[in-house]
């Protein structure tokens, strides 16, 4: 996987230009790009937020399969911008008939961290594992379970523990990992972190990559050595270890650098 980012080729916009591009309806490509741009460059102007929220109800930009590409991008941008005004409109998007809009909205609500999203997110899990089946002919399940479960974990929805637990046994590995990740965040029990550590030695590269990112996101200290030894790109292992190091430092007073932090940095040094 190439996680390198290259923004040097991205056309440069001004804030006013980007907002204007987003508000016009003639060129869907310009709108789509403007939504991404406002998120990427963290434009928190009121006008930008309002234009992005309006774009969540766009009906002009349609993909061949009936999806709403602009809504997806607008939801992603709103997640990055951290404005609580987006919470209610994003919750509305959880009912959109485009799977990818629901997924982007769940991810954005995770980033915004507002507890108002808990009940609506829990509703996506209704029916439990039995209902969580693949949509015929599509590469996804009937709901964005992974995104919804991860959001519930990050938001700290301890009331969701009972509903999340059965997803540890879902047939899709990424959903299992999302459940382990969320349950670790919600309970602090190492058994859930260790499930993700076990996934680092699994046979599939995609699964190992997912587990690396999950462990970094939850900052599970016990995983540091196992991460360094995982068969995967060093770029991902470094991102994962950075998450664990920073979570460790944030738990220390004044981010004090102790022996454990130095050990983690030595692991990171060896992967550069």
């Amino acid at each position: 996987m190439n996680r390198d980012t290259d923004f040097s080729s991205a056309p440069s916009l001004t804030i006013d230009r980007a907002i204007a591009n987003l508000q016009q309806t003639e060129d869907t490509g310009d709108r789509y790009y403007a939504a991404w741009w406002l998120g990427r460059f963290r434009v928190r102007d009121r006008a930008a937020i309002e234009a992005l929220i309006a774009a969540l109800e766009d009906t002009t930009d349609r993909s061949p399969d009936g999806g709403y590409p602009l809504r997806r991008n607008a939801a992603k941008a709103l997640g990055k911008l951290g404005d609580r005004a987006a919470v209610s409109p994003l919750i509305e998007c959880l009912h959109c008939d485009d799977y990818y809009v629901r997924e982007s909205a769940a991810q954005a609500l995770e980033q915004l961290g507002d507890r108002a999203a808990i009940s609506p997110l829990l509703r996506l899990l209704e029916g439990g594992v039995e209902a969580a089946v693949r949509v015929p002919g599509k590469p996804y399940l009937v709901q964005p379970y992974e995104a919804a479960i991860e959001a519930l974990g990050t938001i700290g929805a301890t009331e969701a523990i009972t509903e999340i637990e059965p997803f540890l046994a879902h047939s899709v590995e990424k959903v299992q990992y999302a459940a382990a990740r969320a349950l670790f965040q919600l309970t602090g029990k190492v058994e859930y972190g260790d499930r993700l550590v076990a996934a680092l030695t699994g046979p599939k590269l995609q699964s190992r990559r997912a587990a690396l990112l999950d462990l970094g996101a939850i900052g599970y200290e016990g995983a540091a050595e196992a991460i360094a030894k995982t068969f995967a790109e060093n770029s991902l292992k470094l991102i994962s270890l950075k998450g664990i190091l920073e979570a460790h430092l944030e738990r220390n007073d004044n981010a004090q650098i102790d022996d454990r932090a130095v050990e983690m940095m030595a692991l990171m040094d060896s992967l550069l």
């Binding site: 190439n2 980012t5 290259d6 590269l205 060093n234 770029s235 950075k242 944030e250 940095m265 550069l272």
Partner: protein, 198 residues
């Protein structure tokens, strides 16, 4: 197994896991004859196999440097990152200009490996009269890398400057590390700079 048989096993591997095993076995043979095959593996888009091939090339050391440098232009980006990682770990001064150029690559994983490598060159292999200029070139490149937009490249620059700074007292390194330790926006970068200063 003969080297030929080990190479044949790499070429006939029928799964990603089998490829990793075959490359690890070829690397473990530590033979110069494995070099072209190990270099080829860097372009297979199999990280496990690439890690094993880099390990083999690094263990072979000096003899792998020219074959790696000679083929560099033909690599795709993934392979280039692994090749530069091998060159960076071998630390031969003949790689200096390649690492300096790679420190400005568009791919952040290439920049990261190159920047790290610039701190770990075996300067003693250079004639004494060439050493100061070569170290200065490395230092200048690393100080620029401290402004890289990607945290991991700045992190690598700190690790490299820490090593280079131990080697010899060079202007500007300590003050640059002090700035990173206090003002960088990434906690992991600030912490690593602090460790380098202590």
């Amino acid at each position: 197994m003969t080297t030929e048989a080990l190479i044949a096993a790499v070429d006939s591997a029928d799964s990603p896991a089998a490829l990793v095993e075959a490359v690890a076995a070829l690397s473990a043979a530590r033979t110069e004859a494995a070099i072209p095959t190990l270099i080829r593996v860097l372009g297979f888009n199999n990280p496990g196999a690439a890690v094993a091939a880099v390990r083999g090339l690094v263990q072979l050391g000096d003899v792998a440097v020219m074959p790696l440098l000679d083929r560099l232009d033909g690599y795709n980006y993934g392979a280039r990152a692994w090749a530069i990682r091998a060159l960076a770990e071998i630390g031969d001064p003949r790689s200096l200009e390649v690492l300096v150029a790679a420190a400005a690559d568009f791919s952040l994983s290439v920049r990261r490996a190159a920047v790290r490598g610039l701190g770990f060159i075996e300067w003693d292999k250079l004639p004494p009269e060439a050493m100061a200029a070569a170290k200065g070139r490395s230092r200048q490149t690393l100080l620029a890398a401290c402004d890289d937009p990607e945290w991991v490249v700045r992190y690598a620059a700190i690790v490299a400057l820490e090593k280079l700074g131990k080697d010899v007292t060079l202007d500007g390194i300590r003050s640059r590390l002090e700035t990173l330790a206090t003002t960088d926006d990434t906690l992991a970068v600030r912490a690593r700079a602090q460790v380098a200063l202590d």
